[in-house]
Structure formats: C-alpha cells, structure tokens
Subunit: 610 residues, 2 copies
C-alpha cells in the first residue's frame, strides 16, 4: 500500500542509466535555478525604501545611487561566479572552491552556511508567498501555517519526482513573472516619457537631505543586497545541466544576471519616479502596478505572478541543497545517506531533509519568518566572500593564461562581498549575531562526523592480499534459549543440530523451583540428547540471568578460540499488529546481545500461517 | 542512567519471594480501596440537589427519601459483594463472576466496562481534585491541565513503587477526610439539637411540591447513585490482601459500607436541614462547613482534605485496573504483557497503561472531564448488574447450604442495579449513548485477540513424546551478502567456513559494470575458495536483487530439504548516535528477510572500538 502511494506521488522508479535524460537545458535551468534571485525583485527595492523612509521621503532619491551600487555588486558576482563555473565544472560552488583553496575549515564554514541558508530560503520564501496569497483572500489568513506547510510538501513531492519534471511545471510561473514585470516597466517608462507622471512627485537626484548619515546609507545598501541572494545557486548545480554543462551553466548565469539587472533597476526607478513610499498595507510592486494600470486585469496578473514566484523561490533551495549535501557527504562531513540517489534519481534524502527542516522552521515561527531574512543574507555573503577569496588564491597559485584579469575580477567580487558582510554585521548586529554561534557549532559537528567515519574506515580496512586474521575459529558452541516445548523451539534445536557444533546447550529461565523441575523432566523425554541448563530468576527478568550465563560460556569459549552462537527462536505473526500481543522478548534479547556482548546471534523464524 | 533514574523513582527491584510482604492489612486496604467510594460523598449529595433545584427549593426535602433509597442500594450491594468475595476468593469481581456463570460475552462486557471505567475514574477524580485546588489558589487556574497531569504521574509512580508503599503514603489523607467529615456532622448535629439552626430554613418532609414528576425523582436518584461507584473495587483486589484474604476483604468492605453510609446520610441531612441550595460558586460541602464553623481553620481543614480525597480517589483505579487487566490477560483477551509483575511486584504494565490513558483523556478534554461522569456511572452499574445476576445463576445451580438467603440478597442487588442502569439510560440517554457503541467494539476486540492467541497456541503446540518433525534438515546453504573487502566481511566469511556448510556463496550487489568487474578481481585474490555471485542493481536498491537471488536459492534448497542461512555482517558503533551516520542496510535486510522470507538470519557483529 505504501509502495503504490509512493508510485502515485512520485512516479515509477528510474534506472540508473536514465540519469542523462534528467538533465536540464538552459530554458528549464533558468526557471528553477533563478527563481530565488528573480523573486527578490519583489521585495529588494522595498527594503531600500523602508530604510530611507526613517529620514524622510526626500531621501528616496538615494535609492538610485544605491541601486547602482547593487548593480555593480551583481555584475562583479556574476563575472566571478562565471569564472568559478569554468574552474570547477563539477559544481560545488562556495564549499568546493573554499575547501580546495583556503583549506578544510573555511570550506566547511561556506558549506555549513549555505546548507542552513537553503533551509532558510525555503521557509522564508514559502511564508512570504503564502502571505501574498492570503492577503488576496483574507478569509484564508488564519490558515497561513497549514497553507505554507502544504506548499512545502507540494514542492518537496515535485522535487522527488525528479528535476526535469519539476522544471517543466515550474518554468511557466517564472517566465510569466518576468513577462509581467517587463510589461510593467515598459508601459511605465512609456507613460513617463509621454509626461503622464508629474515630475513633482519625487525629489530630484542630488537634493540635499538633512540628517542623512553614512550608516543609514550603508544599511539601505545592505538591505538592497538581499536581492542578490540566489546568485550562488547555479554554480552549485552544474551537474544538473545538459552537456556541455559548464558552458550551459555560464550562459544561464549571464542570462539570469541580465534579467535580474533589468527588473531590479526598472523597479527601483519606477518607485523613485512615482514617488512611492513603502507602507505595511500595500507592497511597492503593487503600488507601481496600481499607478501604471489602475486595478485592472494587468494589475492582478502582476500580483498573481509575484505571489507565485515568491513560493517558487523555494525551489532553488531544493535544487541546490541536495547537491551541496551530496558534496559534503561524499567528503564524509555529513551522514552518508545524502549520497544516495532515490527512485527518481534525485538525492531524495537531501530533498526530504530540506522539506522537513523548513516545515519545522515555518511551524516554529508560526509562519512569520521575516525575522530570519537578515540571517539569511549573512549566510549568503559569507560563502560569497570565501569563494571569491578562494579563487584569488587559486589564480595566484596556478597562474593560468590571462590570470591577472581573472584575479582582478575575483578580487573586486571578494572585496565587495566582504564589505557587504561587514555592513551587515555593523548595521544589523542585533539580528545577525546568532550566526556567530551556530556556524562554529555546525563546523565542529562536521569535523566530528568526519573523524568518526575516518576511525570506522581505519578499523574496517583490510589489504586484499593479507591473510585472514580477524576471527580465528577453532570450534563452535551453540546456545539456544528456550521458553517452552513448542514448534518454534523444535525448529531451532533441529537447526542447531544440523550445524553440527562442538557443543549445544539449551537454556531455560525458570521463575520458581516447581516450574523448573517440571520443565527438566519434560525436556528429558522430549530432547534427551540436548543438554539443558535451567537458570533461576529472582527478579522475573529473562535477560539478566541469560546474559550472565552467556558471559560465562563466552569467557570459557574465547580461551580456546571457540565461537559462541546464540540461536533465538522467534515466531513471526501473520499480521504486523499482532506483534504487540506478544512479549517479543526475543527482539530485546537479540538487540541486547548484539550491542553488549561479543556473540553471534542467529534468528530462526517460525512463520505463523493464521 | 535510565536505570538509576528508575531506581530513584520507584526503588530497588524486589525478589519474587518478597511478594507476601507487599500484601495489605485492613487499615491500609481501606485507605486505598475505598478512597473512590468515600470521595463521592463530596459530590453525590450535590448531584441530587442539582436535579431537584430544577423544580424549586421546596423539593429539596425529597433528598431525604432519595438518600434512603441510595442507602438501601448501598446495603444490597455491600451484602451481595460480600457474598462474591467468599465465593470468589481469588478476586476478579464482576468479570470473573459474570464469565463463570453467565458465559464469555457477558463476562467480557463486564470486564471491558470496568476496564474503561477505571480509566474514567482516574481522569475524572484527578480533574475534579485539581479544580478544588485551583479554586483555592485562583492564580493556578490556567495550569489546570499540567497540574492534573503531574498528579496522575505522581500517583502512577507511587503505584509503581508498590502497593504497600503507596498505601502508607495515601492512608493519612483518607482517614483525615473521614475524620473531618465526622467532626462536621457531629458538630452540626449538636448545633441542630441545641436549636441553633432555625427550622424555617427548610421545607418539612411531605410538603407538597407542585410540578414534581417521577421522571425527575428517578433522575435525582440516579444522580445520587453516582456516590456508589467505588464499591466494586475491593472484590477485584482480593489477591492484594493479607491472609486470610477473603475474610479481610469482607471486613474491609463492611467497614467501607458503614463509613460511606454515615458520611453520605449525614451530609444529605445537614444540607437539607440547613436549607442549602447548590450553586456554581461554592460546593454543598463547603456551604455546610461554612454554616457550621464559619470560615475558621476547621473550614479549611475540611476543604483541604476534600480536595485531597478527590485526587486520591484515582488510586482506587490504580489498585483495581492492573488486577482486572491481569485476569483478562491470563484468559488471553488482552495482551500477555499485563500478566508480568514489574520490579516492585506490581503489574507495572497495567499501572503504566492506566496512567497514560488517563493523561490522554485529561488532555483531550482540556481538564473538563465532568461530561464523562454519566458514562462512568453506567460503566459501573452494568457490571454491578451482571455480577449480581451471575451470582443468582451460581446459587440456583450449586444450591449450597442456606442458598435461598444468598439468592435473595443477590436478587435484590441485581434488581436494584438493573433498575438504576435503566434509569440512567432513560433519564440521561443523550449523555450515555456512547457506551452502546464502544462496549461492543471492546468485546469484539477482546474476542479477536483471544482468537489470535488460540491460533498461535495451536500452531506452536507439540506433544512431548512426538518425534521432531518440524524442520527436516538434510544440509545447509550459507549466503553472505558482502559490501566490500573489510574486516566485517572477513569475520562473517570465517564464521561461515567454521560452520562447515555444504555450500557457501558470497553475494555482491554492484551498481555498474566497472565496479562489478573490479570487485570480482579483488575477491579472487582475497578469498579464492569462496564462490562469489555478483548481482546487478538497475534501481540502486540492494534489497531487491538480493531477495530475488535468495528466493531462487531457497526454492532450489527446499526441494532437497536444505536449509538456507543468510549471514549478515554488521558493525556495531561504539556510541548509539553513530547509528544514524551509517546506512544500516543490514538492519533493513534482516527485518525484511525474517518477515517476508523463510530463511534463517545470522548476524555477525563487529564491535568498533573507537
């Protein structure tokens, strides 16, 4: 039943050889890998204006130079990530670049930071998309959290179905959003050129603003930089591209950069020209659309696609997280299960983990995840800085043809990223301090997991030509705990005899003398050739006297290199719920012996037929 | 750590031979087995007045004849339960009596009804006790549910410590409550005799009441009968008494009946004479105490002990439920685990189940469990009726000396119990209908569990002298799934060889051709004498190809009565949390093979040292 539900939800399993068919072309890749970056146009410009408004509406003209700053940063990031794509065509982004060039710990810092960040991306973008939906349909407002959770589950299932299928479904909303905003900007510009918008609605650029401070401008700039948060995703996901993967990835990156630049600068300019002030009732994009079209079908088209893209931004996390987790798991910094491909060839453990973690975040914050946005921006600019610095080291070390140009590009990228990171820490310290605690913890956890795997590897390793030394077995002792005279016990005793060991001992735990005597007599008649040992339990526990006895036997046996096997008779009910009707002491005994004692445990099943 | 916490909470384990020391004398037995019945004095009289008040305050005089009716019922119940105690000295009460005399289904009806009832007792009495406490300290009111839950946990732990220990602790509050109410009644009577209370405050007995109906009087009577709910407990718990158990139990029962009669009639009379009307702000007992003493220390003493006894009434459930569950489990109607004595010789599974179930009820009803009271009363009078009828059948069938007298006693008991039951169904149908659904369901569940156990028994049974036919083994095939060339695999192969089977096959599941070829070559060098079969997995699953292979081998082997053993190499990490870092496919494979296939599974552990 579980299997058919799974088939229905995520489709038939794919063969490993079908992997190539699951790769992405530019068109689909742009849709699923850039939705995060593009969606930030819906809130980035607003973030700038909110900070400026703390002075006065006159200060709004600063949004233009700030937007120019953001565009410069965007250009630098796009160019330097383009270099990373070609230098590391197998993907991995900040984690791989930092680890190879700066060392293990910076790499883990970048990797851990991004891992957490993708979880935040999903939680934040789905919550804000849900907000947009429930703003349109206020009667849904009390159900914000369940709606957000259902959306996350939906996106998780889409991703479990596989990357191309989710890309096919998700491409439309992304391109519709781009189209909607382009129409908005073009129509708006035409109206402005026709002189339909009074120039008096905004202060001219350069108007002096009393009370403006560098601190405030930096804060506004940092807020605007939150529009750049999805840029990293493509470089992490190169293995998902069709061949030639790096080339296609680089093209996608440039395309995304171009679209993002147009939409972002267009939106900022329109907001400035219309003299729009942010308010808590209506978003800036909604105000621009209202000014341009009035509340007609175009307005609702823009609002609808905006809500959709906010939800779909989550999908970028779902593309990048499993790939990053795979890289970390391959290097043994996180659990090995993240390296397994699921039925549909995606790294399903990564996808499911991301889904669960973001649902937990949404529930924990009651759907109000805005407080997480600054954390999330810091979590992006730290790996930005680390990967750009890593590239610097690489160019200096390898000095390939034209390395000076590459060096300068990455240097500018690293410098700006680092500056933005510092601005975040200076202007929003009260909101971002938690990263200073949890990032080191994550790195320590990674290192401990790695150490564990290394130790296990050392203990398991063997040289193929070495002679087998591990377990020298000169003889066998078989112990059969018996609970009565039943078919199950009979099976086990027969099996033990067939193995022809040196010694067979049946063990019976009695709770009183009478029972003990009676059982011994019955046994003599039933199995005269198998030695029976009866143990007495004062405290009604079976495990205690049994393990004590096994310890004694094991101690003697190991002296003469004999191996002790405990055969546990176990009956298997026909239906699983019947399990609770039986004491299942055999399960307990088995687990206890395996974990605590050095004996071999054999289970002889007896399948009940009704 | 878990063990030492357990030791701290419930004490050292007791030897089975210490059971005798855990038995109860009359003094302690009265305290823990009658707290339920006695506590109902705190609300029984009030229940009568609440019904009468729906007519007018003049109708209050009817509480006197109604109380006489309740006392007659009490007498009949006490006398007939006394006969049950001597007839069934091993305890079991309504369940055993109904089952032996009326048949299986009436017995299960009585047993199921009581089982549910004890859970309701605990939930209802702890919630109402908590109400009494938080009424005194209103700032605690928002914490009603957590307080009630903590109280249930506390009582559960006390009972896990053992019956005598809980009796020692709980005896004081019970006797203090009895003392408090006796003082109240005596002082009140003295004041009445001195003429301190004006006779005008109540209507004379026999005053005509316009609008009174038989229906209403019956309803008031039924409500008053809720004071009799704990009477059954002693007959269920006879095995907990010191020898001679039946005699001691009968004495305790008579004592309880006497005390209950005095307290109940005293309270009803005082309420009538003082002309007290029930109101939602203050309980009837509180009003009587206020009229008698004013708000001095005696008033608070009475209120405090009343709150305590309401909570402790839960303890009656904790004494009777595990014993009843033991009886049902012994007869195979519920899971066998209820027959096990825990460390402190109580039936700890029953105690824990009762604790958990009542906590769930309290949480589900948000601490407002009053709605359950009628259900609970029905759940008592049904087994009352069944057990008395069972006794009728017994006397008629066995005709012992003086059987006519006994017959009459039980006949009166049965008749009154049945009448009360009918009154409940007629006057409170809207509240009690759920029992008509869940009781049959419980009986069906009991019967299905019994059928399962019987079938299992049939399949396991063996005659000691019969020759072993079960598993005819002519030879052994050992299959070792291997995942690589490691110490763990080496151990398993060595073990397999030491068993000297007819065939050993190592199986390797490869995901691609290259890996397959490479492994085969390495194997040839490493274990040239062990045959290796490599399987190819298209869908990245290990279990599927493996089970398919095992099925093929098993099919061939069973044709020639060979037995197939799968040896699973498994490494055991040093710390349990490390488990999540390993795929533990060995666990999955083992569970799958045991449940789905007819093969023997041997686990060879490899204990990691760091």
């Amino acid at each position: 039943m579980f299997t058919s539900l799974k088939r229905f939800l995520i489709g038939r399993p794919l063969k490993s050889t079908e992997l190539g068919e699951q790769k992405l072309g530019i068109f689909k890749a742009l849709a699923i890998l850039s939705s995060d970056a593009l969606s930030s146009v819906a809130y980035g410009p607003e973030q700038i204006l909110i900070v400026l408004m703390t002075i006065s509406a006159v200060a709004f003209w600063y949004s233009i130079p700030i937007a120019v700053g953001v565009l410069i940063l965007l250009t630098a990031l796009i160019l330097s990530y383009r270099q990373i794509i070609f230098a590391y065509p197998h993907g991995g982004g900040a984690y791989v670049v930092s680890k190879e060039n700066l060392g293990e710990k910076p790499g883990l810092l970048a990797g851990g930071s991004l891992l957490v960040d993708y979880i935040l991306t999903v939680a934040v973008s789905v919550s804000s998309g849900t907000d947009a939906i429930t703003s349109a349909f206020p009667f849904l407002h009390p159900y914000n959290v369940p709606i957000a959770v259902v959306l996350v589950i939906f996106i998780t299932l889409l991703n479990l179905r596989g990357i191309t299928e989710s890309a096919s479904i998700l491409a439309y909303p992304v391109y519709l959003f781009v189209l909607a905003l382009l129409i908005l900007i073009v129509v708006g510009l035409i109206r402005i050129m026709h002189g339909d918008v009074p120039a008096s609605s905004h202060a001219a650029i350069g108007t002096p603003v009393p009370g403006i401070t560098t601190f405030l401008l930096l804060k506004a700039f940092a807020s605007g930089c939150s529009a750049l948060t999805g840029v990293e995703a493509i470089s992490n996901a190169i293995p998902n591209f069709k061949n030639p993967a790096p080339k296609n990835a680089a093209k996608t990156l440039l395309l995304m950069g171009g679209i993002l630049a147009v939409l972002f600068s267009g939106t900022v300019f329109m907001a400035y020209y219309y003299g729009i002030a942010p308010n808590s009732q209506e978003t800036v994009v909604s105000q621009i659309a209202d000014h341009t079209f009035g509340r007609n079908y175009m307005y609702y088209f823009i609002q609808g696609t905006t809500a959709l893209i906010l939800v779909l931004a989550a999908n970028t996390g779902f593309s990048a997280f499993p790939q990053l987790a795979f890289n970390l798991a391959k290097d043994k910094y996180i659990a090995r299960m993240f390296t397994m491909r699921g039925d549909r060839l995606g790294y399903s453990n990564g996808i499911i983990t991301l889904g669960i973690a973001s649902v937990l975040l949404i529930i924990a914050f009651g759907g109000k995840t805005e407080a997480l946005i600054p954390l999330y921006a810091v979590g992006v600019f730290l790996p930005f800085t680390l990967s750009q610095s890593g590239m610097l080291v690489k160019w200096v070390r390898e000095k390939p043809k034209g390395w000076m140009g590459k060096l300068i590009t990455n240097f500018v990228g690293a410098l700006i990223s680092f500056t933005v990171l510092m601005i975040f820490f200076i202007t929003k310290f009260t909101q971002v301090w938690p990263v200073l605690i949890f990032l080191p913890l994550i790195v320590v956890l990674f290192l401990r997991i790695k150490r564990h795997y290394d130790r296990v590897g050392d203990q398991l390793r063997i040289q193929p030509k070495e002679k087998a030394e591990a377990l020298q077995i000169k003889g066998n002792v078989i112990i059969v705990p018996v609970a009565g005279i039943t078919q199950v016990v009979q099976n086990s005793i027969n099996y033990a005899k067939s193995m022809d060991p040196d010694v067979i001992i049946a063990v019976y735990v009695a709770f009183d003398r009478e029972q003990e005597k009676k059982f011994e007599e019955q046994w003599k008649v039933w199995q005269p050739d198998v030695r029976l040992v009866t143990l007495h339990s004062h405290y009604r526990s079976v495990i205690q006297p049994l393990t004590k006895f096994i310890d004694t036997i094991e101690y003697k046996a190991s002296e003469s290199s004999y191996c002790v096997t405990v055969i546990i008779p176990q009956f298997i009910p026909k239906k699983r719920w019947h399990d609770i009707l039986h004491n299942q002491s055999s399960f307990l005994i088995r687990a206890y012996l395996l974990y605590k004692r050095n004996v071999i445990v054999t289970t002889v099943p007896f399948h009940l037929k009704k």
